[in-house]
């Protein structure tokens, strides 16, 4: 496939590999500093309560305690100030309110106060002595409940926005929007077969293994230095500056290694608090979250409630589709219902569509992005109904999808037309995959398929490349590396320079040392930072040609460069030979690039899942699983496969087991990794992968970005497989043993269900 390339498409060992297999890599929680103090955050025991009084005197007096802070120590948030902190625009008051609660707590686990002490145990003991009088308020935990008249109101100042217009209605519905294309009513009137259903998905967590952490030093010169694990060092810089009302130049963020994020390590939680504690003590302060804090205080993905209806002609052509989506934002507005609405029918070419989306606040943690945010929930509904439609029409489920698949030029309901996409190619790869035609190999087994779409994003990236005298280069970037992007970025520079991957030495640096770079998220890093590396490498090539021209007393435009060999009028030198002589020419060669790329290529993914459902217990075992995804161009195929496998398994966990199990008073009762059961090695088969390459015509190497779309299909594919195995249609996630068992019982007692 990539025969024209020598580095792109190969599988070199990652540059940070040795550090990560020897334990030498320094993650956020590993950081220490002279004089370090340890912070502890006290969190609300109630899901919804007014804070009447906070008395910190006993904590302050506790031996070993150096400082205590509450929301009163933060600068006041100007009422209507809007900030954009990497995930879209949001009122500053919400960002501050989530960092430390002011006036009210909105979920169990909401941070209220913090203590810095000589060790973490003392800090926790002292925090427990803080006296808080709460007036407990009724809570609302699901979107349907929070939307009803008379529901407990979270934000007295939140006015519902209805179809783009502010209303006077005080509500938990922050926003209701609608996408309309064609005439859905007319379309359904033409439909000969209609399928519809109501679906629910539970709140689930990103589940990264490394808890959030932050160390901050508010230095004596007024500058704040933060060390942490984050998906975006510049987001942390900007958010910390905003919350503390400081100019961005006063904050320096050094991103340390990060132990997983999946979207959940974009928001700031600890950094401003650590900084406030440092300001009060004059010493660096480190705060580490516990696993319970991570579950109860950081971004889960929205629980969601969906009603979807699809109408088709007998020949399989879909003529109308309708969706109603209500997503739980958690404590502050901003559920991922917008992207959900854009993705719900994105895979198909449908003339008549209406989509209503509702962003609803509830008394649960403020949600954060989770891998293709909003799309997995939506695809669970659409792709389950597609399976039902195929059955009703007597069509093969992949053929039905192919007959309706979105292509270049297909218009989505939210407006824009697709450019070159790989939906059809993914479906064809699924159809031709040996898995799709293999025997099931046993009783109580079934096979299901589903596809999914995610946009991917661009956003700014910066990069510099400096040439070393030994013919290697140092690449400086600002994208924190969650899963091997140092290497996928360096490989793109190596391809341009004609070097081996190992000859490009990538470093992720602090916010003082590189140009602005957006978050590692939205499947953008290999796409956008890779693009910056490509452009910076081209800048190096241009300068190297000038140096060669100087050495050879030739005209710069006469110098050519082919795979790292520079030539002009009989002269020839390799990159390495030229690099050794750049000192003779006119000093260092440094290439640079700052990009904000257009030409983002969305990615389609598909899943083929075989399950075995135990008719006695309802337990679903995944016996075979294949993930197919359009990578555009796979820069490092092993790490592309790794994204596909990891996303698939997160989707499997979401489908079969994971959920926030809430009691009636709004407490999560399974906030440990024992009870919040994520898939283990023993729960899974090998995850087969097939990379499809439909190059993104806009990107220098054709990259689309592969981080996210792979999580979208699994829940629906598994629901369809469960139907094939056990004859029951699952409408709710997770499809855990009790849920499947109940569906089996219901079927056996009511013959028409």
């Amino acid at each position: 496939m990539s025969t024209q390339y020598t580095v792109v498409g190969t599988r070199p060992v990652r540059h940070d590999g040795a550090d990560k297999v020897t334990g030498r890599a320094i993650y956020g929680g590993d950081f220490t500093a002279a004089g370090l103090l340890h912070g502890f955050i006290l969190r609300s025991p109630h899901a919804h309560a007014a804070i009447k009084r906070i008395d910190v005197s006993k904590a302050t007096a506790y031996p070993g305690v150096k400082a205590v802070v509450t929301a009163d120590d933060m600068p006041p948030a100007p009422g209507d100030k809007i900030v954009d902190l990497g995930e879209g625009e949001t009122p500053l008051s919400y960002v501050r309110g989530n960092v430390l609660a002011s006036g009210k707590v909105l979920y169990k686990g909401h941070a209220v106060a913090a203590v810095a002490a000589v060790n973490p145990h003392v800090a926790e003991e002292a925090a427990r002595l803080i006296e808080i009088d709460y007036e407990v308020l009724p809570c609302t935990l699901t979107a349907p409940d929070a939307m009803r008249d008379g529901a407990p109101i979270l934000h007295a100042d939140l006015r519902m926005k209805e179809l783009g217009q502010k209303t006077d209605r005080v509500s938990n519905i922050s926003d209701h929007f609608r996408h309309v294309m064609g005439d859905a009513e007319k379309g359904f009137a033409e439909a000969e077969v209609v399928v519809e259903g109501e679906f629910n998905t539970s709140t689930v967590h990103q589940g990264y293994i490394e808890p959030h952490n932050a160390t901050a030093l508010w230095n004596n010169d007024g500058r704040i230095h933060v060390w942490c694990s984050t998906q975006g060092s510049f987001v942390v810089r900007d958010a910390t500056a905003c919350v503390l009302d400081q100019p961005v130049s006063q904050v320096k963020v050094t991103p340390l290694e990060i132990g997983g994020g999946f979207g959940g390590k974009i928001p700031v939680y600890l950094e401003p608090v650590a900084a406030l504690l440092s300001k009060k003590t004059g010493r660096p302060v480190r705060i580490l979250m516990s696993r319970q804090d991570v579950f109860e205080g950081t971004g889960p993905t929205p629980g969601s409630h969906l009603k979807v209806k699809i109408g088709a002609r007998r020949d399989g052509k879909i003529v109308a589709a309708q969706a109603w989506l209500a997503y739980e934002a958690g404590a502050y507005p901003g559920a991922m219902v917008g992207p959900g609405a854009m993705c719900v029918f994105a895979a198909y070419d449908i003339a008549n569509v209406v989509i209503d989306g509702y962003d609803v606040v509830v008394n649960k943690p403020s949600t954060a992005a989770y891998r293709a945010p909003g799309a997995t929930n939506a695809a669970f509904a659409t792709e389950t109904l597609m399976d039902e439609l195929a059955a009703k029409l007597g069509m093969d489920p992949i053929e039905l999808r192919l007959a309706n698949a979105a292509k270049e030029g297909t218009r989505r309901a939210d407006g824009p037309k697709f450019r070159k996409i790989g939906c059809v190619e993914v479906l064809q790869a699924m159809k031709n995959h040996p898995h799709y035609s293999a025997p099931l190999g046993g009783p109580n087994r079934g096979r299901g398929v589903a596809i999914g779409f995610w946009f991917n994003v661009g956003l700014p990236s910066s990069c510099t490349i400096s040439v070393n005298a030994d013919g290697t280069v140092n690449l400086v970037e600002g994208s924190t590396d969650i899963g091997g992007t140092r290497t996928s970025v360096a490989m793109q520079a190596a391809e341009v320079l004609g070097l081996r991957a190992e000859e490009v030495l990538p470093t992720v640096v602090d916010t003082d040392s590189v140009g602005f770079t957006g978050v590692t998220g939205g499947s953008r890093t290999t796409f956008a930072t890779g693009w910056a590396a490509h452009d910076a490498a081209q800048d190096v090539v241009r300068q190297m040609k000038e140096r060669a021209a100087k050495l050879w007393e030739a005209a710069p435009e006469s110098v050519t460069c082919e795979r790292g060999v520079y030539q002009s009028n009989g002269h020839s030198a390799t990159f390495r030979e030229l690099a050794a002589r750049i000192g003779e020419t006119s000093g260092p060669v440094v290439g640079r690039a700052a990009v904000n790329p257009r030409g983002v290529g969305g990615s389609f993914a598909g899943a083929i899942a075989d399950v075995e459902v135990d008719p006695e217990t309802g337990k679903t075992t995944v016996v075979r699983f294949t993930s197919v995804q359009d990578a555009g161009r796979a820069i490092h195929p092993s790490y592309v496969e790794g994204q596909m496998q990891g996303g698939s398994v997160q989707g499997i966990g979401w489908a079969l087991n994971e959920e926030y199990f809430m009691n009636g008073s709004g407490a999560m009762v399974n906030s440990s990794l024992l009870d919040y059961r994520m898939p283990t090695a023993l729960d899974l088969p090998m995850i087969d992968t097939q990379i499809v390459e439909v190059p993104n015509p806009a990107h220098p190497f054709g990259v689309r970005g592969v981080g996210e779309a792979n999580i979208v299909p699994p829940p629906a594919a598994l629901a369809n497989a469960i139907h094939a195995a056990a004859g029951v249609r699952m409408r709710r996630l997770p499809m855990n043993p009790p849920a499947v068992m109940e569906a089996i019982w219901r079927k056996s007692t009511s013959p028409d269900s």
Binding site: D80, I82, D84, G86, E87, G88, E89, T90, P91, H155, D157, L158, R159, K161, L163, G164, Q165, S174, D175, F177, R178, H179, V180, P333, G334, A335, M336, V337, G338, P339, M342, G357, D359, A369, P373, D414, G415, P416, K417, F418, R419, F455, V457, G458, L459, P460, G521, G522, N596, R598, G599, V600
Partner: protein, 93 residues
């Protein structure tokens, strides 16, 4: 002339028309020319010289990160999209 797609909720201002043509080589110029033909429309899209927080603009299918400054070619498709920015709902109460 660019082809401008009017979101459902603003079509009351264009007499129900879903697409209209407008002059301009940037989104800002397109909005200005729309405003001249359809009174009130520009104000629903722009506030204090910037796109409103709940509005994004897509030119030729791609959501722009520079908003009003995005270049528009003759024959470009311009979509004003509600509620999405950077993968997360823009919001302001």
């Amino acid at each position: 002339m660019a082809q401008v797609y009017i979101p459902g909720l603003l079509r009351e201002l264009t007499g129900g028309r879903e697409t209209v043509e407008a002059e301009g080589s940037t989104v800002r110029q397109v909005v200005e020319s729309l405003g001249r033909v359809y009174p009130g429309l520009a104000e629903r899209l722009v506030e204090q010289g910037r796109l409103r927080p709940n509005i994004s603009v897509a030119v030729d299918g791609e959501i722009s990160s520079i908003g009003l400054l995005e270049e528009v070619a003759a024959g470009s498709e311009v979509h004003f999209i509600t509620a999405i920015k950077g993968g997360r709902c823009a919001r302001r109460s």
